[in-house]
Symmetry: C2
Subunit: 196 residues, 2 copies
């Protein structure tokens, strides 16, 4: 397989993360999700030196204190700094190797590369609710609230940083309804496309 | 293959119609596009009797005269009547046989069936422009204008009649970028999904 970066955006409860993890395993490529990217960014981009350089704060004050101080002299919020650090990590990862990247607006961050396949996984409410109830051991009402809240945050963050609309088919190479197609078929389609 | 209705919505110039036609041929199922559905609606739904019944107009006045009279006493425009007639045709077709239906908001019209796969085909501007230049023998500037105008009409019509947003991944079972994936891969994915 030629070098391929597969980004996966997804609705909460659609199984997108799991599908991405399985695709990475089956293709034998690296897998990066929020936690891994966050850790790398923390180790490199969000070091005290980075904070000092970007925000002209004493390294001793750290991120927490900074969060209460609002914005730095350039108008950047903590969220902006975290976003920029993660953005750098994603660009380095994509330069280095074939991989699957979950979330983090990676589709937009990597839009100028031509070795990227952007996937959006969505699903039907009943199936998503059922999945969240099982995964988090919550009631149906709680699951609905979790789905709506999480997707609202993802949509807001994506629309803010990309000036595109989260969930518009045009942003992605392929979009799949995992409730109708099933997780196995979603994996198969993504792998077929990665092998083009 | 179990009975399957495949609806194809598409951006102008993305090759969606052609992809749908090929899928219908390869699966050996019926193919319905704007022209065919329009003809059937004309023969049945838009007969003088239909017009008289719906709009309480003299059949002798016909559609053209009606177009200038604005709306009937129920507030229906000619467009609404044509839409309703085509909607009935699409529902009858879907009841009858496996088929591919291009456009006509068929994804929304058939939303209560569980034997439907809704596909959205989109593409990148340079590839769409190239295709339209060749197909219609027009300049690049004219092709861009044709693409923007046609998609604007489709979007407006879809958003009006469905109260959903045209091109949102969530409306469709799968959405494919034909410029990146190629027409053959799009056909393959749709056929794989039809065989679930």
């Amino acid at each position: 397989m030629a070098k391929r970066i597969i980004t996966i955006s997804r609705e909460f409860g659609s199984g997108g993360r799991l599908i991405g993890e399985e695709v990475a395993k089956k293709l034998g490529v690296a897998y990066y999700d929020k936690d891994v990217i966050g850790q790398i960014a923390e180790q490199s981009g969000l070091s005290p030196e980075y904070i000092q350089e970007k925000a002209e704060l004493s390294p001793k004050k750290g991120l927490f204190a900074y969060a209460f101080s609002g914005r730095d002299i350039t108008g950047k919020s903590v969220e902006d700094m975290v976003y920029e650090a993660q953005r750098s990590v994603i660009m380095e990862i994509a330069e280095k190797e074939s991989c699957v990247i979950i979330g983090r607006n990676a589709d937009f961050i990597l839009k100028d590369r031509n070795d990227v396949i952007n996937v959006f996984i969505h699903g039907n409410m009943p199936e998503k609710v059922q999945r969240i109830c099982k995964l988090y051991n919550v009631t149906e009402a709680d699951a609905v609230k979790m789905i709506n809240d999480t997707d609202k945050r993802r949509r807001t963050n994506y629309n803010f940083y990309t000036e595109q609309k989260w969930g518009m088919a045009g942003n992605y190479t392929l979009s799949l309804n995992s409730s109708v197609l099933g997780y196995d078929m979603c994996q198969k389609i993504i792998m077929d496309c990665a092998r083009i």
